[in-house]
Amino acid sequence: MDTTECILDFFSRSARMPLRRDAEANLLDLRYLDEGVLDSLGLVTMIAEFESAFKISFSADELQSPEFQTIGGLIEIVDRLRVSQR
């Protein structure tokens, strides 16, 4: 399963506002937390869904990192964890 595809799919399903998939580069830079793309329930859902889909577990440090706050950074964290927690 492709990480990027799966994460972008989650955001297109769960965002509280429409996201433009055609502008993918901008989408990767999107600060989805600051922009209020997900509400708190959406965040919990996202963490649970990614941990289950990718068979990974986020640490508190990863959840609090600046990297976690953009979609692109999130993809990089997940990719890293998929290798290290394989």
């Binding site: 600060r31 937390l33 600051d34 209020g36 509400d39 708190s40 329930l41 965040l43 919990v44 963490i47 649970a48 508190a60 959840l63 609090q64 976690f68 706050q69």
Partner: protein, 384 residues
């Protein structure tokens, strides 16, 4: 240069069988660390590095409101046997003291940490209670703050308010007596922000004809499933212009709102905030002449201040009032200012105290709220 900021207080927590225990608390950051007297000595002169330790300390911090909004907000473990003891050398000690803002190196960086949070996972800034709570629920508990909110106030079936918390002991206990005294058959009541309909059902028990209104379909689903005779429920986006147009003018003897007005002053989410004047002019329109607007809100001063001191002689530390950075209730002048601007007159103000039976359930909460009220109830009427 390292220093102990003036925001730090030392609270004795020693007992005969567990001597030499102190809580060092930063009252702005609401952070704390358990320390022994040799650490007090180090804090007394940070420039004197001769004492290399080891130093006895304790991890005792907890997000105590995890147990409920009205749980002990003091942020440290009360049970001394649950304190987690550690022995640190001087370097480890200073690292821990700095992590808890009991000692700071850079005062301006420390001050800037009190700037507004950018989002719920923003750990650079402290944020208000709701933001810190949201972060704690998401990161530490992996649960939704809204789920938690339901659990801490309501019984698992969500039909009634839990009586083992201060919600039950103060708020529900007061409203049971208050409704019994003031509500009668045929009285027309609108419960704005009715949630799962608990208080709408309570009002109906005394014969009132109740319309419960809430923006949440999820809550209304529960409300409709448990609806008492005499209640009906409708979904409306309270607080937005035109949202209550379906409610006829001069149709209610009572408009009731509980734990809701604070969100017009301290927002839950960033972005455009609802205008309280839109809401208040709707309430004026809906009320019959001589009708009453009953507002139940967490107390403007004492809500979320720490519960300190002896059990039966409590004290608290009020570190903010007019400009709240941690607290989430408006000061009286803002709240009453908004209400009088909308043409309401305050007819009565009740500062609630706990019901007698609660002493056995939560002695500290009982004693604290005997002296420092945690809720206020206002009766308001449209000015003539």
């Amino acid at each position: 240069m390292s220093l102990v900021p003036r925001d730090v207080v030392l609270l004795p927590e020693s007992t005969p069988d567990r001597p030499d225990r102190w809580v060092a608390m930063n009252v702005l950051a609401r952070t704390c660390l358990g320390i022994s007297s040799e650490v007090v000595r180090v804090m007394g002169n940070l420039n004197d590095a001769r004492d290399a330790g080891p130093f006895r300390c304790w991890h005792l911090e907890r997000f105590s409101n995890e147990d409920g909004l009205l749980a002990d907000p003091s942020r440290f473990e009360r049970d001394l046997s649950a304190w987690h003891e550690v022995m640190w050398d001087r370097r480890e000690l200073l690292t821990a003291l700095k992590a808890k803002f009991i000692v700071v190196d850079d005062v301006s960086a420390y001050r800037s940490r009190f700037a507004s949070k950018r989002n719920v996972l923003d750990v650079e800034h402290f944020g208000n209670f709701h933001e810190q709570h949201g972060q704690h629920m998401l990161l530490a508990k992996r649960t939704s703050p809204s789920e938690w909110w339901m659990r801490q106030k309501f019984t698992p079936d969500r039909r009634s308010v839990r009586h083992d918390t201060l919600y039950g002991a103060i708020q529900a206990a007061f409203l049971e007596q208050y409704f019994a005294k003031h509500f009668r058959p045929g009285l027309s009541v609108i419960d704005l922000g009715c949630g799962t309909g608990t208080y709408a059902n309570l009002a109906a028990r005394f014969g009132a004809e109740v319309l419960g209104i809430d923006p949440s379909d999820q809550y209304l689903g529960v409300a409709r499933a448990n609806a008492a005779p005499g209640t009906r429920f409708a979904r409306m986006d309270i607080g937005t212009a035109g949202a209550l147009d379906a409610v006829a003018g001069q149709s209610a003897d009572v408009v009731f709102m509980c734990d809701a007005l604070l969100f017009y002053f301290v927002p839950v989410k960033p972005g455009p905030q609802p205008d309280i004047q839109v809401l208040l002019s709707d309430i004026r329109r809906i009320l019959k002449p001589g009708g009453t607007f009953i507002s139940v809100e967490p107390h403007s001063t004492f809500y979320l201040t720490p519960w300190l001191g002896e059990l039966d002689r409590p004290f608290t530390i009020v570190s903010e009032y007019l400009n709240k950075s941690y607290g989430v209730t408006p000061p009286f002048s803002s709240l009453i200012g908004a209400l009088t601007k909308a043409g309401f007159v305050v007819e009565a103000l009740h500062e609630l105290r706990p019901a007698a039976g609660f002493e056995g359930v939560d002695p500290r909460g009982y004693q604290f709220s005997q002296e420092f009220p945690l809720w206020q109830v206002m009766e308001l009427r449209p000015a003539r």
